[in-house]
């Protein structure tokens, strides 16, 4: 069970009795849309009730289970605004910051985490510090990703421009790689979305890079040092493509875990 689903379930079990509990405890029996509609009606009818903040966060977490960040954001924001200074207001702030992080808005997310780290109590100090540290690391990775993606694109453009008179037929490198890429793309069909995205990015990116290198080498007679540089650049570009695929697919944490602990069988 994901952290979000576990939180939604714990919120369902922890609510007190009354109409609120009747809605929250039956979330599993209804669709999330229906549950959120009922909870929204309850919150609108009891805007001053202390449980309204919890109801807003509960709805937002349900929306995140359904990968509807667009619907979760206004709920977190309302909880942060209407219940500022309370536990559910801080939960709302953290929810907004988490969504900012997912949209690569690192500055606002880090500012929120730093503010949460100054709250009294060990829980929010811990959550704020660890979240801010993770967000700063994610920002560094994102900047490296942008730099590498730009360098790959520039290298691609330069090679295609220099070989612009001989872009067809495709080079041999591409014909040898096509079956391998096809197998990789077929293997994506059985993978979850993130993993499939990463593997497809490597497969398709490899075809593009092989094509660009192939037509460039075919069109330009290069000296020995230039060939050595091309070979070295090829290795660097393969590593850069792998890094970009992993970061862009949101798999960095799992990738790092794989490197340190081994792959999951």
């Amino acid at each position: 069970m994901s952290r979000v689903a576990a939180l939604a379930l714990s919120l369902s079990l922890a609510v007190p009795s009354g109409g609120f509990e009747a809605i929250a405890s039956r979330a599993g029996a209804r669709s999330h849309d229906a549950s959120c509609a009922r909870m929204q009606a309850w919150v609108d009818a009891h805007p001053r009730d202390p449980r309204a903040g919890r109801g807003l966060v509960w709805m937002a977490e349900l929306r995140l289970v359904d990968a509807r960040a667009d619907l979760a954001l206004p709920l977190f924001a309302r909880a942060a605004r209407d219940f500022a200074g309370s536990e559910w207001g801080w939960e709302g702030e953290k929810g907004v910051a988490d969504l900012d992080l997912a949209r690569h808005s690192y500055a606002s997310a880090i500012a929120t985490y730093d503010r949460l780290a100054t709250l009294p109590g060990p829980y929010w100090r811990y959550v704020g510090r660890t979240s801010a540290k993770a967000a700063r690391a994610a920002r560094r990775r994102w900047h490296v990703f942008l730099l590498l993606a730009a360098l790959l694109t520039i290298g691609l453009g330069v090679r295609l421009f220099r070989a612009r008179r001989a872009l067809w037929p495709p080079p041999e490198e591409l014909t040898y790689a096509l079956p391998v890429a096809a197998v990789m793309l077929l293997a994506c069909l059985r993978q979850p979305a993130g993993e499939a995205h990463a593997v497809a990015t490597v497969a398709l990116g490899a075809l593009v890079l092989l094509y660009a290198h192939g037509v460039h080498l075919r069109a330009r007679a290069a000296s020995a040092p230039a060939r050595a540089l091309e070979a070295l650049l090829g290795l660097c570009e393969a590593a850069a493509l792998l890094y970009c695929a992993v970061v862009a697919s949101g798999l960095w944490a799992r990738f790092a875990e794989t490197l340190t602990s081994g792959a999951e069988r």
């Binding site: 490899a206 092989l210 070979a231």
Partner: protein, 74 residues
């Protein structure tokens, strides 16, 4: 030894239906198939780019020698 009513644990031991080595239910690592595809794909790309630079240079050199040496044996 005093006889007891406790059933023999060896006789009533539940059957082991399957054993899976190396599996960690708390692991968040990538699956071995995805790891193989990612590293294999990137490795094959790197090797392909490296070999292409080397082999194309060899081929060009051979072609140039063949064209410019009319007295060479066929």
């Amino acid at each position: 030894m005093r006889p007891t009513d406790t059933p023999d644990p060896q006789a009533h031991r539940p059957a082991v239906l399957g054993v899976r080595f190396g599996a960690n239910p708390n692991s968040s690592s990538l699956g071995v198939d995805v790891t193989f595809l990612l590293f294999g794909g990137a490795g094959a790309l790197g090797a392909g780019l490296f070999l292409a630079a080397w082999l194309r240079a060899k081929r060009k050199k051979a072609a140039v020698v063949g064209r410019d040496d009319p007295g060479a044996a066929p």
